[in-house]
Subunit: 361 residues, 2 copies
């Protein structure tokens, strides 16, 4: 059974670029909100996960941050009321391009308004209001979720006293924009994308999504990890045949299996919207410089974690974010980690990430 | 007028994996072979260039290494007889998958035998024989050309006393294999690829080639360069429109123009073959370890140049190559350069590369 809950923003929700929609926001919770209402931790996700960050009695299947959330874990459900939001624009219960447009009774598809990271952040504030939470204990996010957490702190300053930003940044660098732009173009060039008008109940542009996922994996992990893990090992079914372009190497087989697991689960148009939102996000939009933008923050403390092998959100960006936060926020910790797994380390290198998170919480 | 010359290997040429073909090898030369026949410098190219490395009286159009080759330049045509080879398997005069298969009178396409870097190296030896060159002054190559130069030194040890390897390696790392494998799959998934049977006189899988080129550019340059060069600048024709997935950023516009320049000029099947040859190349194949493989080398000296911002052939690979060469070769120089432009630096950062090359020559 799914543990996901839904909140419908009945009043029309004003998106950052002026469009009005009435979205539903899907979320899951763990633990109990205390009487003071001050133990809530809000988690924003990366581009592709659902709100199912951890298992629960209702849904015992493992979540995407299973090792981080639960009894005795860094995000301890005995102490905190944990909320994880499925981003506006995604396809796991929250409203997005795959959802029905109430005006047409058909999926929005490309009629969905331009989505920004600020929209994701602001829509979550409605959920908090519904839950009776005036102020969070902490807002947490990794990757796109880190951008969303920062946007939340900027857009909803009174709700936000503590921020944890993981492998994220105040704005995307052109290298990351180039990678995501190419992923989007690969999807759009798949003839089955059909200019976004594919059957949202069918498979859609499955080849485009597979290739985009492979490019994603290349940018999410590190060359050093793969050198150690795969080297030049041949794929299990490798035969020194003349088949010109099959799978020769273990690393190709690894990408293949990741791509196959991903496709089918994520709507292509939703992927396009969320991906572009990451490119568009710019912390400087809130004031012209990071210092000016951050002047409205009401944070007491922040922790910024980055990983030395991350090439998508390089460590220098976390350092810059921490430095800019430190001009306004009393207590800022910059935590560089030497994980081998690149941008994805927060999902897999629990030996380094759990202690860092536990120290903060 | 083109300055390219052709040599037909009339005897059937034995490829490394046992196939026999009668290939033509295209090449250009600059300068004059001296009476002793000992001033010849052989250049192998990266994956995509032709043999037109520099202008000449016959063909005054600029070559791909124009700033490196010529009167008074590091590869000084007053002193050296320079030869640049169009790789076997390419499509600029040398025999490859786009060439006519004499047995069928149709293009080889995927019937072309599996191509290896050693095949490219060995076919060049026939050209040298025809030119009356027993021993080179130096063999030079960058990127795939560096692999080919190393393969030449291993396969043709008596012809080779000096080696210059630039931004290359003794074998591909899994990160580079993953990138090239994905480029190949992007091309193969273009419906116009038609399992390699596209009309070789037409455009072929143009979308696949454009996308593969964009991915190439992302891997050839560096994030640091782009951060400095593009930042978050918007494209000239950027309008804050609702068009969901056009070109917003300058970096996207840059990729677009590079992709457009590339397509049409390079045959897709040739690209696939050459790309895979880079993955398959392994200097260790010649002996089980680099030290064992290199024991047959007859080099007197070698220079290995690498660039700190190169993520496709990271500096650690050039260091490893230089170290392994030093066990056998008396005089080995390892030259790490701090160029900003990543793997492509040897094409553009002439302020660093020219002095390094001039010092060796």
């Amino acid at each position: 059974m799914k543990a996901v809950k839904f909140f419908e923003i009945q009043d029309r929700f004003a998106m950052q670029r002026g469009h009005l929609i009435s979205p539903t926001i899907a979320y899951e919770t763990w633990g109990v909100l205390n009487a003071a209402g001050d133990n809530a931790v809000l988690i924003f996700t990366g581009l592709s996960p659902s709100a199912h960050a951890a298992s629960s009695p209702t849904d015992p299947s493992a979540g995407w941050w299973e090792d981080m959330i639960g009894h005795g874990k860094p995000l301890d459900t005995d102490r905190y009321y944990i909320i994880c939001i499925n981003s506006l624009g995604s396809c796991f219960g929250s409203t997005g391009p795959a959802s029905k447009n109430p005006e047409t009774e058909k999926p929005y598809r490309l009629d969905f308004p331009v989505l920004t990271v600020e929209d994701i952040a602001n829509s979550a504030a409605h959920v908090l209001e519904d839950l009776g939470i005036d102020q969070l204990h902490t807002v947490v996010g990794a990757s796109m979720g880190g951008m969303t957490a920062l946007a939340f702190a900027l857009e909803q300053p009174a709700r936000c006293k503590r921020l944890v930003s993981i492998s994220s940044a105040a704005r995307a660098l052109p290298h990351a924009i180039a990678l995501r732009s190419l992923q989007r173009e690969i999807i759009r060039k798949d003839p089955l994308w059909q200019n976004g008008q594919y059957d949202t109940k069918g498979h859609g542009p499955i080849n485009g999504m597979r290739l985009a996922r492979k490019l994603g994996m290349i940018s999410y992990r590190s060359g050093q990890e793969w050198a150690k893990r795969f080297g030049r090992e041949r794929a299990p079914d490798f035969t020194e045949s003349d088949t010109p372009f099959g799978i020769d190497f273990e690393v190709e087989s690894y990408l293949e299996s990741h791509a196959n697991r991903f496709t089918g689960s994520f709507d292509a148009n939703c992927y396009l919207y969320l991906s572009r939102a990451m490119d568009l996000f710019d912390g400087l939009d809130h004031g012209g410089s990071l210092t000016a933008s951050f002047s409205s923050l009401q944070l007491d403390s922040a922790m910024v974690i980055g990983v030395s092998t991350d090439t998508l959100f390089p460590l220098v960006q976390q350092q810059a974010l921490a430095d800019a936060l430190a001009e306004k926020v009393a207590d800022v910790a910059f935590v560089p980690l030497d994980s081998l797994q690149g941008h994805d380390s927060f999902l897999v290198d629990m030996d380094r990430f759990r202690p860092a998170m536990a120290a903060y919480f």
